[in-house]
């Protein structure tokens, strides 16, 4: 075997699950090769089969999964055919996995150190003492402060970012020949994700890596070569830059276009959503799997395309790659097909600034009391509390969108819940259409409930599984609008039409809808009462990007048509800058910065905003940015820093004043307000534009 031989070579692999009484292919006829030292990205949305493929490589498919045909040649032998016992010698020693969701991937009742040490004992033959010692060294290598303390902790005692570092230490401990990273940063905050990506990039040097993710931005930052999967098939496979610059599959191009690029807004670009939805496992089309959603599809696509080798390194499974090249070269997209790229809608570029705001928050506070322990109760200590929202003031003008950005623990959801009345605010004023909103939901009248509606993050949980779509939509029409049953029924059809669902959906149960369709129903329900203010709390976060784009477009259209005011909450800065007219950045329950959306991406910005922007993985391999890495992680809301809440992590901290005094609000010429001690001019001078737009 020479060094040019691939470490891993997958040949015509088909993996199936036994579901509903029959075998269904989750991965079909996939071939790929990973060479030594390569960082190979495997990209796809949910249901693409990317995780199944990764698990098949590890031969860990559960009781229902089986490799039906094909080979997995790993360092010279076909591991599709080896025994379970032989796999145990490969697992952890030659192939290691860094899983998604570090929180659930560690055993909750075994100390972290032992969970690392057991690998060393079993694969490296170390004794108890040596393993313990080497564990500390490994924890140090993944930049964990105080490895000794971490080793003695249980998983729940350390943060998610630290847990992921532990898992990386585990996976790298045996210097495996192949490292599989399965969405290792997906459940982490942007700033933590950036730090973990740094660490991975540094530590994998020389290691052969398969990086599984849905995030094109992450791929662009870390991989050399990318394979795109769709509905169980490998549809395109190319070197990184080649794939981003010259996608040769309609799906790849669609994926790249459906994510808003930083700097794109609803005013200058409409998101190019891919129509339709990912077919379920049992309903995959014969022929080209992407045909039902493809704008280039024709008769020839009923025949399954072979993997065409455009260049020795660039393969695509598309009949129409030549037309794609023409389009990229500037040729007009063919007419006569139903293009997903509708012309730009007439979106109001500015709301009426003189009209009074629809929503006004004044010094809003939401504090959660933490119950006393018996000891504290006896000693009559004052109650401790989490100050989830700690004095936020803002307003939203009519028919405008305010984007609220923050990482986990920033209090953005508590803020939304306090406005809607799901939690009672502790203090402060909330005014809706100039009328003060009672803190308690039970004190609000029907009209207030009608005016204020919400769309939640997880469409799976937001709909009652035992009610048809129709009865879900009928409820607000009758109770909030006071329509008669007959009037309500005709409105239901209109609502479904507005969210682009066929009328027969009103008789369907939520279980028969896809995630994107459920979110459309949830949006229809929220719009049913014709609300003045709609709060969308991470409403697109759980959706695949191709679906996400269509939901964002839908929200835009509905808002433009109905003049609804929108409070859009998200951790995704790209989506927020695309959709919003103004943006507020929150950190540990406080506003850090607020202002017009256009100005957010240009200095001066609050140091926290600066870091957030710098840490977004950009889906462009050519993007070069000065990285800003924050120190440590977000402090526990129970131990909120004094002075400026951000000072413990701030890379621009100027001195004791940040620790002791609350910063002043400073305003720039273009109406941006920044909560920082550093004078605006100094910020302006120090900060380079992070992005070239």
């Amino acid at each position: 075997m020479t060094s040019l031989d691939p470490i891993l070579s997958i040949e015509n692999l088909t993996v199936a699950y036994y579901l509903h009484g029959e075998w269904q292919d989750a991965v079909r006829d996939v071939s790929l090769q990973i060479h030594p030292g390569q960082v190979y990205g495997l990209v796809g949305e949910s249901g693409s089969g990317k995780t199944t493929l990764a698990m098949a490589i590890m031969r860990y498919l559960g009781v229902t999964g089986v490799i039906r045909s094909g080979k997995i040649i790993f360092s010279g032998r076909d591991i599709a055919a080896v025994s379970q016992a032989e796999m145990r010698e490969i697992w952890g020693a030659q192939i290691s996995l860094v899983p998604q969701n570090p929180h659930s991937a560690l055993n909750p009742s075994i100390r972290v150190g032992e969970q690392v040490a057991e690998i060393l004992r079993i694969h490296l033959g170390m004794g108890q003492v040596a393993a313990r010692q080497y564990t500390l060294e490994l924890l140090h290598q993944v930049r964990l402060p105080d490895p000794k303390r971490v080793a003695e902790s249980y998983p729940h005692q350390i943060s998610g970012g630290m847990q992921q570092r532990v898992l990386i230490a585990m996976a790298l401990s045996t210097k495996p020949q192949l490292l599989i990273l399965d969405e290792p940063t997906t459940s982490l905050d942007v700033t933590t994700q950036a730090a973990i990506l740094d660490l991975i990039r540094e530590l994998i040097h020389g290691t052969t890596v398969l990086y599984v993710t849905h995030n094109l931005g992450v791929v662009a930052q870390i991989c050399d070569r990318v394979a795109v999967m769709y509905a169980g098939e490998l549809v395109e496979d190319a070197p990184l830059e080649e794939l981003f610059n010259r996608p040769l599959h309609v799906y790849t191009q669609g994926l790249l276009e459906s994510v808003p690029r930083l700097g794109e807004t609803k005013l200058n670009a409409r998101l190019k959503a891919i129509p339709g939805q990912i077919p379920s496992l049992g309903a995959r089309p014969q022929g080209c799997v992407f045909m039902p959603r493809c704008w280039l599809a024709d008769e020839s696509c009923k025949e399954r395309p072979s993997l065409f080798e455009f260049q020795p390194e660039h393969r695509t499974r598309c009949h129409h790659w030549q037309e794609l090249i023409d389009v990229q070269a500037g040729a007009p997209r063919p007419t006569g097909v139903d293009l997903p790229h509708l012309p730009l809608q007439n979106i109001p570029s500015s709301g009426d600034e003189t009209a009074p705001p629809v929503l006004t928050l004044q010094d809003l506070r939401v504090h959660y009391a933490i119950s006393h322990t018996l000891g504290e109760f006896v000693q009559r200590k004052p109650a401790r509390q989490v100050e989830a929202v700690d004095g936020v003031s803002l307003e939203i003008a009519a028919a405008r969108t305010l984007g609220l950005v923050g990482e986990s623990g920033s209090g953005k959801s508590s803020l939304a819940r306090a406005v809607v009345g799901l939690v009672e605010r502790t203090d402060g004023q909330v005014e809706l259409l100039q009328a003060s909103l009672p803190a308690r939901l039970s004190q609000r009248d029907i009209e207030t409930l009608r005016q204020l509606q919400m769309v939640f993050q997880d469409p799976e949980e937001a709909l009652n599984p035992h009610q048809t779509v129709g009865s879900t939509l009928r409820r607000p029409l009758i109770t909030l609008l006071g329509l008669s049953a007959r009037e309500a029924d005709s409105r239901i059809d209109q609502l479904l039409q507005a969210v682009k669902l066929p009328p027969e959906y009103k008789d369907r149960m939520p279980a028969r809808l896809s995630g994107g369709e459920k979110q459309r129903v949830a949006i229809a329900r929220a719009f049913a009462s014709n609300p003045d203010l709609l709060i969308a709390d991470e409403a697109v976060s759980s959706l695949d990007v191709s679906i996400q784009a269509s939901i964002i477009n839908l929200l835009n259209e509905l808002q433009a048509g109905l003049g609804t005011t929108l409070l859009f909450i998200s951790h995704d800065l790209g989506v927020v800058t695309y959709l919003s007219d103004s943006i507020a950045v929150v950190y540990l329950g406080r506003l850090m910065q607020i202002g017009p959306a256009g100005g957010l991406l240009e200095p001066p910005y609050h140091p926290y905003t600066e870091a957030l922007i710098a840490d977004i993985p950009i889906a462009d391999p050519g993007a070069r940015r000065a990285p800003i890495r924050l120190e440590s992680e977000t402090p526990s809301p129970l131990q909120k820093p004094t002075g400026c809440p951000f000072h413990t992590r701030c890379h621009r901290k100027i001195g004791v004043i940040c620790q002791t005094q609350a910063p002043p609000w400073q305003e720039t010429a273009d109406g941006k307000r920044i909560y920082c001690h550093i004078p605006i001019e100094q910020l302006q001078a120090a900060q380079a534009p992070i992005l070239k737009i």
């Binding site: 145990r88 899983p99 659930s104 909750p108 009742s109 075994i110 585990m170 000891g375």
Partner: protein, 314 residues
Amino acid sequence: MRRYLLRRSGFLLITLLFTSLVIFIVTQYLPGDVARVILGREAGEAAVQDLRAELGLDDPLPVQYFRWLGNFLQGDWGISYSTKSEIQPLVLSRLRNSLMLAMITLVISVPLAVTLGVIAGLNENKPVDNTISITSLSVVGLPEFITGLVLIQIFAFRLNLLPANSSIPPGSSFAEALPMLVLPALTATFVLLAYIARLTRAGVIEELKQTYVRTAELKGLPHHTVILKHVLRNALLPTITVVAISFGWLISGLIVIENVFNYPGLGRLLVFAIDRRDLPLIQAVTLVTVLAFALANLVADLLYAYFNPRIRYE
């Protein structure tokens, strides 16, 4: 951990104080006048009044309660109305018997049930699992007096291995009592078996779905290490609680089994006391039972916390 222990012990005291109050009040409202019960139907009204005064039954209830509780704590549990003897030695000797039976039962049933439950859970919906589940469930459906009698028929009469009558003489040592304990313990095991096994099975199945199991497997650990070290530690947590509750039941709830085998345990003593309206005896037995229950729960909580670090540090 120490703080946790202190807190749980505090709760235990409060529980006991509260239940003692409930026991006291409830027994006050049992029908029949105590003095009348003691003296019998024929006694004159004057004699009854005298006895009431002597027993302190005319004092206000709070006074009576604290007197009773104070005496109880000092070891003066009073005189039984029906046997006219000291209550404490009687109850303590019965408690000892019940404890012996409970311990033997747990020693037999817990390892057996947990093993069966783990095997069933690891082989979910396979023939082994189905066999274990159906067998243990059909056994639990049988009333104790049936299983007890069948066991006596087989082991005492047919095989002549063990005694049919378990009326162990007072003061007999554990070794002497052991042969007589086996059949009642087996009978109780049949009741507990399915309960504990089902719960263990559910725990194992639940834990096997967790992602940390995949992490452990993909480390290349031997399968038995994954199961014994990673899975069971978490899967057996609910079982601990159920075993503790079963312990309380074994102490005081084995009335039928004790009757079938003529076993002198607390359960039969309580029935005896209630039959005769023997208030001090009822109070003493109930309070001891509650104490046993509460202690078993405390031990369960401590074990639970010991094996579950997420609880320990809260």
